[in-house]
């Protein structure tokens, strides 16, 4: 009985630590999805899930092809605040094409593409706003009219 009590107490002691170690990410999908069609603009997601857990100074890379004649919207979030995430679009030579850091960490941005190019999207948390946590990105597209 004593042992059972000890077991229970130990479990209860550790349970909060376990919970802190894990981060709920389930709310991010709804937040980032709302940025894709916030004005009924006809964007569709590319059908892939981009989620990651970032710690301070850690960067996640998404390598993608942007096709000519398609408009893109890249949206990202790491929580309820709009501006936790910094993302940059780099070309195949690592030239900077865009950084949302120049626009108050805007959570989404649209891109028009003249020619098909290979790009890298680099995403990280803004260390001045959040040190670690779940992040989610959506790449959406629509045909250029």
């Amino acid at each position: 009985m004593k042992k059972l009590l000890f077991t229970l107490l130990t479990f209860l002691t550790f349970q909060p630590i376990i919970s802190i170690g894990q981060t709920k990410c389930d709310s991010l999908g709804a937040i980032v999805s709302s940025m894709i069609n916030n004005g009924d603009e006809g964007f569709l997601t590319d059908g892939q899930s981009y989620k990651y857990f970032l710690v301070e100074d850690e960067t996640s890379e998404i390598i993608t092809t942007l096709y000519e004649g398609i408009n893109y919207r890249i949206a990202t979030t790491a929580g309820l605040e709009d501006n936790y995430m910094i993302f940059e679009l780099l070309d195949e030579q690592r030239n900077l094409l865009f950084s949302n850091a120049n626009h108050n960490n805007a959570p989404y941005w649209n891109f028009k593409v003249e020619n098909t190019i290979e790009c890298t999207i680099e995403a990280k948390l803004d260390p001045n706003r959040k040190l670690n946590g779940c992040a989610q990105m959506i790449i959406a597209f629509k045909k250029d009219n």
Partner: protein
């Protein structure tokens, strides 16, 4: 002594728990709740790199804008889904039927769209990921079947849910095969279009998938788990050799940004120096590849 006997296993359990996903639970709206641990990669990450693959819907839209008319002969027979038994085949077929769904939906063929959506649901069930296309999604799909835009949104939602579920449950190989199947079917339809309309526009559309091919080869190198993966990788390697004969150029030009509309115009230029002979060979390779897996 007795304390350490019980203490150590619990410390171990606590640490172990931090390294795993929480079991999925369901909220009221039947949406799976996801918990992610700091140490768990939930995307197809290769040294923190994720590859993004073009959506089947995007490719189907491009085809519908070209002179290529819809051909039901290009679709894979939905009734054949039961003959695929391995996870490899089922995942690839899920992708193939996903592209057929996009192809039908873009061309506003509601009856066929429902057929392919239902087939995807059955295949997803066979892969034990049926909840990704849950009953409410199926009902919404049927209720909105005559609204092309809604159908495309729901098809895209289904792709995301399948991809998300597979990646979160450490099935990167299966997730890759679903994407792979979707892309192979897209390339098959695009290749067939090229063979009936050999215009430079159609050649370029196929040429632009050079990068996606390279991404898939890298993915298969990393997530492949057996002979079937190595075989596919080898076949894609043959296509790559042909693509390598297409010279490409790239020139960086600064982008222009309009902050008020939150839009950046990417002005960099690229070129793909295609020739019909090579593009015809590439299209033949894609057609053979797709027919090899659907036979």
């Amino acid at each position: 002594m007795s304390i350490s006997k019980y203490y150590i296993p619990f410390v171990f359990l606590a640490l172990l728990s931090c390294g795993e996903f929480e079991e999925k639970t369901y909220s009221m709206d039947d949406t799976p709740e996801v918990s992610v641990d700091q140490n768990q990669n939930i995307n197809i990450e290769l040294e923190n790199t994720i590859f993004s693959i073009p959506s089947p819907v995007q490719i189907a839209m491009e085809l519908s804008d070209s002179n290529s008319s819809f051909s039901s002969a290009l679709l894979h027979d939905a009734d054949q889904y039961e003959k695929y038994s391995s996870s490899f085949d089922k995942a690839m077929m899920l992708g193939i039927y996903g592209t057929d769904l996009a192809y039908c939906s873009v061309n506003e063929l509601s009856g066929k769209s429902i057929t392919y959506y239902s087939t995807m649901k059955k295949l997803a069930d066979k892969l034990n990921i049926g909840f990704a296309i849950n009953e409410s999604l199926v009902e919404r799909f049927s209720a909105n079947i005559d609204d092309r835009d809604s159908v495309l949104v729901m098809a895209s939602e289904a792709y995301v849910k399948i991809d998300e579920y597979l990646k979160e449950n450490d099935n990167q190989d299966i997730a890759t095969m679903v994407l792979m199947g979707g892309w192979i079917e897209s390339m098959y339809i695009q290749s067939t279009a090229l063979q009936s309309d050999t215009s430079e526009v159609n050649q370029l559309k196929l040429a632009h998938h050079k990068y996606a091919l390279n991404h898939f080869i890298t993915l298969l190198e990393k997530v492949g788990t057996g002979d079937r993966y190595w075989e596919l990788q080898s076949m894609l390697g043959d296509v790559k050799k042909l693509y390598d004969d297409i010279p490409t150029t790239y020139e960086f030009k600064p982008s222009t940004t309009e902050a008020t509309t939150q839009t950046t115009q990417i002005n960099s230029t690229s070129s793909f120096d295609t020739d019909y002979g090579t593009m015809l060979e590439i299209s033949n390779e894609f057609i053979n590849l797709r027919n090899y897996y659907t036979k």
